[in-house]
C-alpha cells in the first residue's frame, strides 16, 4: 500500500471528504541520569487518516479517525474504524491546492546531541553556590517530514526540526539544629528548547537553581497583596493555561468585554518561523489576538472554523500522528507595545513578589474566570529584592490578571508547554497572595 493507494481508498469510501497525513521522523536523544547515560536513536513512521462518511448531499457526516505506523496498517485501521459507531459532524471546507510546497529535503544525518551535562552541572552549581546540583538531563535533536493531502487537491510537504530537552536539579540544605543535623531537599524540572549551535546553558542553569533552591528557604509570602513580577517561564505558563480561551468559536464571556486586557498588552500567535503549514495543510500566519487590550481575533482549525462559520486560521495542531488535529495555539506570546528591560520592571516594584518558578501547574477555570498559580520566588520592596519566598499562591480572576498587566519585558523567551508559549518578564499590579 502506498500514499496514492490510500488516497484512492479514502476517495472511494468518502468522496471529497477525507484527509491523509504521513510523518517520518528521525531523532537522537542523550539521556543522563545519576551517572548513567543513554543514547536513543529513533526512526519512526506515522500515518493518519480522517474522513467524513455518509450522504455527500448532507452537510454532516460520520467523522472517523485512524492512525497507524505503516500504510498497510492504516488501510486495515480504516476498515476497522468504519465498523465503529460514529455521530454526525459538520463537514469542514478542506483547504484547496494552494501554493506548491517545496519537495522535502533529503534527511541530513543526525549526530548525537551535544553533551550539555558537564557545562550545565557546573553552571547550576555556580548559580546556587554549590547547594543545587543537576539530577537528570535529556536532550533531543530530530528532524521530521510531514506530508498532508486531502480530497480537495491539497498535497503539501514540509520539514520540521527540533532541539529540545528536559532537565532537573535537586537542592539540598543541611543545617544544625538542637537535635543534630537536619536536611531538607527540593527538586525542580524545566523543559527547554535550545539552539544546537549556541545553547544558552547559563540561563537554564539559573532557572533550575532558583526553582530548586528557593523552596528550601521556608519563608512564606510576607504580603497578602502587592505587585507580581512574573519571570518569562512563569508568565509563559500562565499564558499557555489561558490560551484555550482564544480557541474556537466561543470564548468565555469575560473575554468579550471591550477591555479584556490592559491597553499595553498584545497577544500574538505566530508559528511562521517553525512551520509553513499547520497539521491540516493550512498556511501558517501571524494572528493578532489581543490588541490595545481588546480581543480582535480568535484561532480556528477546520472543524471549529466550520462550526463558527469562519475559515481556519492555520491552528489545526497535530503534535503527534496518533491524534487528530485540534484547535490549539502553535506559538503564542505576549508582545508589549513598549517593552521594558526586565531590570526596569523590577525596579518599579514598590512592594510585591517575583515569581521565579512554578511549584505546581497553573490551574484555570476559564468559564468561571478563575486562576491559581503556586510559585517560588523572592519578595521585593522599593525595587530591591528582600529575600526568598519558599512558596506562595496567586489566585483570582483571569480577567483582572490580564487587565492589571502594567509592563511587559523585552526579554521574550519561548517554552514548550507543549505548544510554544512565550513571554518576557510580566509586571502585574494588585495581585492577591496567600
Amino acid at each position: 500500500m502506498t500514499f496514492e493507494g490510500l488516497r484512492r481508498a479514502l476517495e472511494r469510501r468518502a468522496p471529497g471528504r477525507w484527509e491523509l497525513y504521513r510523518k517520518t521522523s528521525h531523532s537522537r536523544e542523550r539521556d543522563t541520569c545519576r551517572g548513567n547515560s543513554r543514547i536513543a536513536e529513533r526512526s519512526e513512521e506515522g500515518w493518519a487518516a480522517r474522513w467524513w462518511e455518509g450522504n455527500t448531499e448532507e452537510p454532516a457526516a460520520a467523522l472517523r479517525f485512524a492512525a497507524a505506523s505503516s500504510a498497510e496498517m492504516l488501510a486495515a485501521a480504516i476498515e476497522d474504524a468504519a465498523r465503529l459507531p460514529a455521530g454526525g459532524d459538520p463537514v469542514p471546507d478542506l483547504p484547496a491546492r494552494g501554493r506548491k510546497s517545496p519537495a522535502p529535503e533529503a534527511p541530513a544525518p543526525i549526530e548525537d546531541p551535544p553533551d550539555l551535562g558537564p557545562a550545565l552541572s557546573a553552571a547550576i552549581s555556580a548559580a546556587s553556590a554549590g547547594t543545587s546540583s543537576l539530577a537528570t538531563l535529556a536532550i533531543r535533536v530530530g528532524v521530521a517530514h510531514e506530508r498532508i493531502a486531502n480530497a480537495n487537491g491539497l498535497d503539501v510537504s514540509q520539514t520540521l526540526t527540533a532541539a529540545d530537552g528536559v532537565a532537573s536539579a535537586i537542592a539540598t540544605n543541611t543545617r544544625e539544629t538542637g537535635k543534630g543535623k537536619s536536611s531538607s531537599a527540593a527538586a525542580a524540572r524545566a523543559a527547554f528548547r535550545f539552539d544546537p549551535a549556541r545553547p544558552d546553558v547559563e540561563r537554564l542553569a539559573r532557572r533550575l537553581a532558583d526553582a530548586s533552591l528557593l523552596p528550601l528557604s521556608g519563608r512564606a509570602a510576607p504580603f497578602r497583596t502587592g505587585q507580581w513580577l512574573l519571570e518569562p517561564a512563569v508568565a509563559a505558563a500562565v499564558l499557555a493555561a489561558v490560551a484555550p480561551a482564544f480557541c474556537g468559536g466561543r470564548g468565555p464571556s469575560w473575554l468579550s468585554r471591550e477591555t479584556a486586557a490592559s491597553p499595553g498588552v498584545r497577544i500574538v500567535d505566530d508559528a511562521g518561523a517553525e512551520a509553513a503549514w499547520d497539521g491540516e495543510g493550512v498556511a501558517t500566519r501571524r494572528m493578532l489576538l489581543v490588541e490595545s487590550g481588546e480581543v480582535v481575533a480568535r484561532l480556528y482549525d477546520l472543524r471549529s472554523g466550520k462550526a463558527a462559520g469562519r475559515p481556519s486560521t492555520g491552528h489545526g495542531a497535530r503534535p503527534s500522528f496518533r491524534e487528530p488535529p485540534r484547535c490549539e495555539p502553535r506559538k503564542i506570546f505576549f508582545e508589549g507595545s513598549s517593552p521594558a528591560a526586565a531590570e526596569t520592571l523590577l525596579s518599579s516594584v514598590r512592594r510585591g513578589l517575583v515569581a521565579r518558578a512554578l511549584t505546581a501547574p497553573v490551574r484555570v477555570d476559564l468559564r468561571a474566570d478563575r486562576y491559581e498559580a503556586e510559585f517560588t520566588g523572592v519578595s521585593v520592596i522599593g525595587g530591591r529584592e528582600q529575600g526568598p519566598v519558599a512558596g506562595a499562591r496567586a489566585s483570582g480572576r483571569i480577567s483582572e490578571l490580564l487587565r492589571r498587566i502594567e509592563g511587559i519585558g523585552s526579554d521574550l523567551q519561548f517554552f514548550p508547554m507543549p505548544f510554544l508559549a512565550g513571554s518576557g518578564t510580566l509586571l502585574v499590579e494588585r495581585a492577591a497572595f496567600d
Binding site: S43, L63, A77, P85
Partner: protein, 437 residues
C-alpha cells in the same frame, strides 16, 4: 510474533559479550480504540494500530537504544544492526510488521454493552471509552524469549448527576483489565457516580485527620512508597530509613504485578522477566526496591522493568499496590476517626520524592463529626510529607479490601503506564487540607 528468536538471540550475543551486559529486542503491536459518548450518542471514533521494535545494549552504565517502526523480524534485525553500527536506522518506509488482530471485533462487545449501561444508570454523560490491546515480544541475550498480551478498558469523563441544587458535573474514571466481571463493576461505579447528593460546602483549610475509604489509600501508597522505592528514583526522606520502624506494624504494603485482575498487572515485564511481589512496607518497616534488569544488581530484576512504548527504554516502575486487610469495620473506623474527613475517591496524586511532599486531589468528601458522617465537602487537596504521613497511620485497618478503579494511568518523566491498587480503609492523622478554587 513470528520471528526466528534463536537467530535474533545470536545477533544479540554479539552485542553483550560480558555476563553483566544486557542486550535485548522488544517489539510491540497494539490496537487502541477510543469512542466518545455524549448522552448515549457516539461521537467521532478513533482507532490506532501501531507496531514498533527497539533493540537495546547496556554495558558499564552506558546504554544505546535503537527504535524502528514495524514489528516483524526484519524490523528486529534492522534495530540490532543499528546498534552494531552496521546500518543506520531507516528514515524511509518502515520495515514491515505483521498486522495485529482486528481491534474492532474486540471492541464490539463494549460498543454494544456500554450504551445500555449508560442509558440505564447514567443517562447524561460525556465519557470516552478506550480499549487497548497490546501484544509484546522480548528476545534477550542468554535468556528465553517471552510473549505476553494485555487488554485494558477505561471509561473516563463526566457524569451529570442530580443534586439538590440541580445538575452537577462529576468526574468519572474507571480502569480495569478487560476480563471477568468488569461490566458489573462498571455498572456499580456508574450508579454511585450518578447518585443524588447534597450540596457540598467548601473545604476549610488546615490540619485534618482523614479516613481513606474504598481503596483510595492505594493512591497514597502508590505516591509515597512505590515511586520512592523505584530503584532509579532520586533520594527521598525514606532513603535513610534503614530498618527503623516507619509506621504501624499492622501495615503491609506490596507491589504485585502478578495481580492480573488489576489494571497494572502482567505475566512478564517488558524485559521478559516473570514478576514477583515486592514488599514495600512490612510490619511497619521499609521493604525492598522495585528493580529492572539494569538496577537489580546481584539480586536481579524484580520484574518491574516497564516501557511506556516500544520507543522508550525500560524503567523500574510500580504496577499494582496491594495493602493487606485489617479487622475493623467501616463504621468502626469512622467512629475512631471522630472528627475529620472521609474520602472515598482520589482523582489525582503527585509526589516530589526529594522533599517527600505529596498531594492528593479529590472532588468530593464527607466531613466526619463526632464519629458520624456529616455534610458533603467540595473539591480540595490533601497534602503532607511522606514520613509524617506514615507515622500518622492508625494501627487499625479496614477488614474489606477494595480495588481502586479510579487509579489507572501513572506518568513519570512524561512516560505513562497502567497502574492500580487495592486497599482497605486506612486512617491517617495529621494531613493538611486545602480547598481548590
Amino acid at each position: 510474533m513470528d520471528w526466528d528468536d534463536a537467530a535474533i538471540a545470536r545477533e544479540l550475543d554479539r552485542l553483550a559479550p560480558q555476563e553483566d551486559d544486557i542486550a535485548d529486542v522488544f517489539a510491540e503491536r497494539l490496537t487502541e480504540i477510543s469512542i466518545p459518548w455524549r448522552d448515549g450518542s457516539p461521537g467521532d471514533p478513533r482507532i490506532r494500530r501501531e507496531a514498533g521494535t527497539a533493540a537495546r545494549r547496556r554495558a558499564r552504565g552506558a546504554e544505546r537504544l535503537a527504535f524502528v517502526s514495524g514489528a516483524g523480524e526484519d524490523a528486529a534485525r534492522a534495530a540490532v544492526r543499528t546498534l552494531l553500527g552496521e546500518k543506520p536506522a531507516r528514515t524511509g518506509r518502515p520495515v514491515a510488521g505483521g498486522t495485529p488482530e482486528t481491534g474492532a471485533a474486540e471492541a464490539s462487545r463494549w460498543v454494544r454493552r456500554l450504551p445500555a449501561l449508560l442509558a440505564r444508570h447514567a443517562p447524561r454523560h460525556r465519557l470516552r471509552l478506550r480499549i487497548l490491546h497490546a501484544e509484546r515480544h522480548v528476545v534477550a541475550a542468554r535468556r528465553p524469549p517471552a510473549d505476553f498480551a494485555r487488554r485494558l478498558v477505561s471509561v473516563e469523563g463526566i457524569v451529570v448527576a442530580a443534586s439538590r441544587l440541580g445538575d452537577e458535573d462529576r468526574l468519572f474514571s474507571f480502569h480495569a483489565p478487560d476480563a471477568g466481571q468488569v461490566a458489573d463493576e462498571l455498572r456499580t461505579a456508574l450508579v454511585e457516580a450518578a447518585a443524588p447528593r447534597a450540596r457540598p460546602v467548601p473545604a476549610v483549610p488546615g490540619a485534618i485527620d482523614v479516613l481513606l475509604a474504598r481503596g483510595c489509600a492505594a493512591v497514597l501508597f502508590h505516591e509515597i512508597l512505590a515511586h520512592t522505592l523505584e530503584a532509579d528514583a532520586e533520594r527521598s526522606p525514606l532513603s535513610d530509613a534503614g530498618d527503623a520502624p516507619l509506621t504501624v506494624t499492622d501495615l503491609d504494603v506490596r507491589d504485585d504485578p502478578r495481580r492480573l485482575d488489576l489494571f497494572g498487572g502482567y505475566e512478564r515485564d517488558d524485559e521478559g522477566t516473570a514478576p514477583r511481589a515486592v514488599k514495600l512496607i512490612q510490619s511497619g518497616r521499609l521493604g525492598s526496591r522495585l528493580a529492572d534488569r539494569s538496577t537489580g544488581g546481584r539480586s536481579g530484576s524484580t520484574g518491574h522493568g516497564r516501557r511506556a512504548a516500544a520507543s522508550e527504554p525500560p524503567q523500574p516502575r510500580s504496577a499494582n499496590i496491594v495493602v493487606t486487610a485489617g479487622s475493623a469495620s467501616s463504621e468502626e473506623l469512622v467512629r475512631r476517626l471522630g472528627n475529620g474527613l472521609w474520602v472515598d475517591e482520589i482523582h489525582a496524586g503527585s509526589v516530589e520524592p526529594s522533599s517527600g511532599l505529596f498531594r492528593l486531589a479529590f472532588q468530593r468528601a464527607r466531613r466526619v463529626s463526632r464519629g458520624r458522617l456529616a455534610e458533603e465537602i467540595g473539591a480540595g487537596y490533601l497534602y503532607g510529607e511522606m514520613r509524617a504521613a506514615l507515622r500518622g497511620i492508625e494501627p487499625v485497618l479496614g477488614r474489606e479490601v477494595h480495588a481502586c478503579r479510579t487509579l489507572g494511568w501513572c506518568a513519570r518523566d512524561g512516560r505513562v503506564l497502567p497502574v492500580q491498587g487495592e486497599a482497605p480503609d486506612v486512617l491517617v492523622r495529621g494531613l493538611s487540607l486545602r480547598p481548590s478554587r
